[in-house]
């Protein structure tokens, strides 16, 4: 389990390197998908099954589809992948930088935990994170209202930004 979680953590960093090294948006979205996938793995390794499920369904299923769609709309004839000359140097520099910083902390690692939640699971019926998220509907009701409000607000923000007057070069509506 420890090896698997370490592998997932490494994958998270590599996924972010893939996003940050300025490839075409097409490939950057792919890197983000990989990062979100291994993020799910990290959460499972720590016992957060419900949070991992939420990350998988909402993040990968919802948002990244939209991002992949936008990337497809903004596609170029010759997208730069990670092996192109303009990108590979950034990938190498970022990877070397991460390894160097990790080496800086070498010896200072302490294994506080691969402790998983539910250390007390003999006393509970539900998993810890499920009951924690369920608190959002009772004690955290105010936060739920704030979230609902901001989602409504975003609806209007998107509406006002994308429809509009006849200014600019391309204006269909």
């Amino acid at each position: 389990m420890t090896y698997l979680v370490s592998l997932f953590l490494f994958g998270l960093v590599v996924g972010l390197v893939a996003v940050a090294s300025n490839p075409a948006p097409y490939f950057a979205a792919l890197g983000l998908v990989v990062a979100a996938g291994v993020g799910c793995g990290v959460l499972i390794g720590h016992g957060g099954l419900f949070l991992s499920l939420v990350l998988f369904l909402i993040y990968l299923g919802g948002m990244l589809v939209v991002f992949a769609y936008s990337a497809a709309l903004a596609a170029e004839p010759f997208p730069e992948s990670w092996v192109d000359r303009s990108v590979i140097w950034y990938v190498l520099v970022y990877l070397i930088g991460v390894v160097a910083v990790a080496g800086l902390f070498w010896g200072g690692w302490y294994e506080s935990s691969w402790v998983v939640v539910d250390g007390l699971k003999g006393f509970f019926v539900l998993r810890g994170d499920v009951s924690g998220v369920a608190l959002m509907y009772s004690f955290g009701g105010g936060m739920l209202v704030v979230c609902a409000w901001v989602l409504l607000l975003t609806l209007f923000v998107v509406l006002e930004l994308t429809r509009g007057l006849s200014r600019g070069a391309l204006r269909a509506v």
Binding site: W149, V150, L153, F156, V157, E160, L161, G164, R167
Partner: protein
């Protein structure tokens, strides 16, 4: 824009700042900042002009980055110390990160480059909201964490902001960019005194809001966004042109006007803390700012534009703009200096 949508946006703008004020938890404070940013975006790009959309995009990118950095720093703090309380931010890495993030959010000097460009792309009313109301929430946070902040960071941010604010405005002809640089310089004054007397920071923020509201509303009343339009401002409202020079000088901080009060008290506080070099640099950089305010005054009061504009003096036409806020803020920007002892007694 539909008035219902406008009402929702304005209400959210108020709610975001209120949430940040009321929160003692970093997550909630971050939520308030995010609501604030989201709510002002449609107001900024209301005209759908390319400049407005560009300014909105730049504003969104910087604010989203700064908010994410704030949340990351507080997560680091929670990971090390186990608390999410705003007042108990004690991990040095987190404090340094959050200082940088708040500087980016407000437009303090090493991270100020977005502010003039964004302000240039907006109309004057939205620019007024951006440079007054949007500053309140970050200031609430920075005042709460100021006892734990590193003094060197604060001093560097403050000095850098006043110098950049003075220097950057020298070469500008666009009024909104000049006001943006004046905003940067005033923020520098607020930050430099934060570690010694946070109540003076609040005082400076209040007077700055009053004075910059007067300046923005004056420009809106005379509908001028460039220096050469200012030369015909007297044909539009002669008495306003006379008073506008005074409120500009008040922004510059000349003695019988309101703007002198914060500068006076801050210089006194810095001298009391035996920092004469810092106080001298601050006072000298105020001269740089004063130069471009004086140039605006010169264009407004001493020049006559080489056209026949005065033949059709537009002041005869009835204006539809509401002049009450302009009158109130102008009076407050000119004549609050005698209230200094009362203000001091209230703040301490």
């Amino acid at each position: 824009m539909n008035p219902y949508v406008l009402a929702i946006l304005i209400a959210s703008l108020g709610m975001g700042t209120t949430i940040t004020f009321a929160s003692s938890h970093w997550l909630l404070a971050w939520m308030g900042l995010e609501i604030n940013t989201l709510a002002i975006i449609p107001l900024m790009s209301k005209q759908h002009h390319p400049r407005a959309v560009e300014a909105t995009t730049k504003y969104f990118l910087t604010q989203a980055t700064a908010a994410a950095m704030i949340l990351f720093a507080s997560t680091t703090n929670a990971w090390v110390t186990g608390t999410w309380n705003i007042a108990q931010l004690s991990d040095p890495t987190a404090v340094a990160l959050i200082s940088i993030a708040l500087a980016l959010k407000m437009g303090l000097a090493p991270a100020h480059f977005w502010l003039p460009e964004v302000l240039q792309g907006l109309d004057l009313t939205t620019g007024l909201i951006l440079s007054t109301w949007q500053k309140l929430a970050p200031f609430a946070l920075i005042i709460q964490i100021s006892p734990n902040m590193h003094p060197a960071i604060l001093t560097a941010l403050g000095l850098c902001s006043t110098l950049v604010g003075g220097w950057g405005g020298l070469n500008q002809t666009q009024l909104r960019k000049i006001l943006a640089y004046s905003s940067i310089a005033h923020l520098g004054w607020m930050i430099i005194v934060l570690q010694f007397a946070p109540q003076l920071t609040l005082l400076t923020l209040a007077t700055y809001i009053v004075m910059t509201s007067a300046a923005f509303l004056t420009l809106k009343a005379s509908s001028s966004t460039k220096i050469n339009t200012l030369a015909t401002a007297w044909t539009k409202a002669p008495s306003l042109a006379a008073l506008a020079t005074l409120s500009l000088l008040s922004l510059g901080g000349l003695p019988p006007l309101t703007g002198f009060m914060p500068k006076w008290l801050i210089l006194q506080e810095l001298t009391k803390q035996s920092l004469p070099l810092t106080a001298t640099i601050m006072a000298l950089s105020a001269l740089l700012s004063l130069y471009f305010y004086l140039r605006l005054c010169y264009a407004m009061a001493l020049t006559i534009a080489p056209n026949v504009n005065n033949s059709s003096a537009p002041w005869q036409l009835l204006s539809t703009q509401s002049t009450l806020p302009l009158a109130l803020t102008t009076v407050a920007a000119l004549a609050l200096l005698p209230a200094t002892p009362a203000v001091l007694a209230m703040l301490t």
